[in-house]
C-alpha cells in the first residue's frame, strides 16, 4: 500500500472520520489523567515548589509547537516535490494548530518566568526564536489567505514553510549554543533526563495527550478543508451550467 492509496479524498475522508472520534476520546482521557497527576499527585519541586506544575503544560506545548512545524515543513516538501494531493491540505490544516500550541507555550512560559526568573519576558535566544516561530505560523497562514489561486498559494506557502524550517534546530539548540536565561533541555539530552521519574511520567503522559489531540484536530481540519474544496467545485459547476 503506497502513500498514494489515501490520495483519494473519499477514501481519506471515510478513514479520517472513523479515526477522529477515537483520537478525540483518547486525548480527553489522557488529558484528564495527565492533569490529575500533574496538578494533584506530583510532589512539589525542591527548588521551584508548586510553580513547577506549569511545566506540565508549558513543555508539551513547546514540543508540539516544534513538532507541528516539522510536520508542516515535511508536508510542504512532499507537496512541492511529489505533488501528493493531500500534502498541502495537511500542511495548511496543521498551521493554526501549531500557532495555537506556540501561543500556549509563550503564554505559559511568561507566567512561569515571572515567579521564577523575575521577568515576564526577556530577549534571550530561546524566547526570541520561539517568538519567530509564532510569526512564521502567522505568516504562513496569511500567505495562504492573500493569494487567490489555490495552487499558487500552496506553492508560495510551502516555500515559506521550508525556509522557516531552519528555525527549528535553532530553537532546539539555542540553549546550548548561546548563553540564555532559559535553562537547557531536561528530557532530550545526552546524559538522560534530569527530571525525577515521579515528574517525568506525568510529563510524558501530557505530551502524548497533546500529540493525540493534534491528530484529532488535524483530521477534523483536513476533512473541513476537503469539504470546503468540494463546495467550491460544486459552486463553480453550478455557475458554468
Amino acid at each position: 500500500m503506497s502513500l498514494h492509496y489515501f490520495a483519494n479524498p473519499t477514501r481519506f475522508t471515510r478513514l479520517a472520520g472513523r479515526i477522529q472520534p477515537w483520537a478525540g476520546g483518547l486525548a480527553a482521557l489522557l488529558l484528564a489523567v495527565g492533569f490529575y497527576l500533574a496538578l494533584i499527585v506530583v510532589p512539589a519541586d525542591y527548588q521551584q515548589g508548586d510553580t513547577v506544575r506549569i511545566m506540565f503544560v508549558h513543555v508539551p506545548s513547546a514540543w508540539m509547537a516544534m513538532f507541528c512545524y516539522i510536520f508542516l515543513a515535511v508536508a510542504s516538501a512532499v507537496a512541492l516535490i511529489w505533488k501528493h494531493p493531500l500534502a498541502d491540505l495537511a500542511a495548511k490544516a496543521s498551521a493554526p494548530i501549531g500557532a495555537g500550541f506556540t501561543f500556549l507555550a509563550l503564554v505559559t512560559g511568561s507566567l512561569w518566568g515571572k515567579p521564577m526568573w523575575g521577568a515576564w519576558w526577556v530577549w534571550d535566544a530561546r524566547l526570541t526564536s520561539v517568538l519567530i516561530l509564532f510569526f512564521l505560523y502567522l505568516g504562513y497562514m496569511a500567505l495562504w489567505q492573500s493569494i487567490e489561486d489555490g495552487q499558487k498559494a500552496a506553492k508560495a506557502a510551502a516555500v515559506l514553510a521550508l525556509v522557516g524550517a531552519i528555525n527549528v534546530p535553532i530553537i532546539k539548540f539555542s540553549v546550548d549554543w548561546w548563553n540564555t536565561l532559559h535553562q537547557p533541555a531536561s528530557v532530550l539530552r545526552m546524559d538522560g533526563p534530569a527530571i525525577h521519574p515521579s515528574m517525568l511520567w506525568p510529563l510524558l503522559i501530557m505530551a502524548l495527550a497533546f500529540k493525540v489531540y493534534f491528530v484529532a484536530l488535524l483530521l477534523a481540519r483536513m476533512r473541513m478543508e476537503l469539504n470546503l474544496r468540494r463546495i467550491r467545485a460544486l459552486r463553480l459547476a453550478e455557475r458554468s451550467s
Binding site: V42, P43, A44, D45, Y46, Q47, Q48, V52, M55, A77, L80, I81, W82, P115, M116, W117, G118, A119, V122, W123, D124, A125, L162, V163, A165, I166, I170, W177, W178, N179, T180, L181, Q183, P184, A185, S186, R189, A194, I195, H196, S198, M199
Partner: protein, 151 residues
C-alpha cells in the same frame, strides 16, 4: 533524472544554501545573541578594550557561597558572581526574585563601574534543568550523592 528527482534536488539544494546562510548570520551576530557574559568573558572583553561605565550589559553566573551581604539600609545588597574561573563583585538595590540565594545561577543587568564593581539595575534568577521532589533532594543530600549546588 525524473522530474520528481529534479525537484527533490532543487529543494534540497536551496535548503542547504539557506541553512549555510543562517549559520553564517548567526555566527556573525554571536556577540549580540548571547544573553549575558560570564565573569571571565567580561574580564577578557575589558582587557581587550575598557568597557565604558555607561554601557549597559548583562552578566551571569553563580552567586558565590558566603558572599551575600546586606547593607544597613536593608535594600542594598552586594554579592560576588562566579563562573568558577573568575569572580565579579555585584551591587544591587531593589527586589530580588524568590529563587535568589547563594549557589544559585543569576543574570544581572546593569553597568560596570570604574572600580570594577558591577552595578545592577535588575537581577533575574536562572534555574537549572533538574527537577525533583523535595524528599528526593533531601535523601540525595543525606546519602552524599548530591551533585547539584548547595542551597
Amino acid at each position: 533524472m525524473t522530474r520528481k528527482q529534479r525537484r527533490l534536488y532543487i529543494v534540497g539544494g536551496f535548503m542547504l544554501i539557506f541553512a549555510a546562510a543562517a549559520a553564517l548570520v548567526l555566527m556573525a551576530f554571536e556577540e549580540n545573541i548571547v544573553f549575558f557574559y560570564s565573569p571571565s568573558e567580561l574580564a577578557r572583553k575589558s582587557a581587550e578594550q575598557p568597557i565604558p561605565p555607561d554601557r549597559r550589559l548583562r552578566i551571569g553566573g553563580l552567586v558565590e557561597e558566603g558572599s551575600v551581604q546586606r547593607d544597613a539600609d536593608g535594600v542594598t545588597i552586594t554579592f560576588r558572581v562566579t563562573d568558577k574561573v573568575d569572580v565579579l563583585p555585584v551591587r544591587f538595590r531593589g527586589l530580588l526574585p524568590d529563587l535568589f540565594r547563594e549557589g544559585q545561577g543569576i543574570v544581572a543587568e546593569g553597568s560596570l563601574a570604574t572600580n570594577g564593581t558591577f552595578v545592577a539595575t535588575e537581577v533575574l534568577a536562572k534555574h537549572d534543568e533538574t527537577y525533583m521532589p523535595k524528599e528526593v533532594a533531601e535523601a540525595l543530600k543525606k546519602a552524599g550523592q548530591w551533585q547539584g549546588k548547595e542551597e
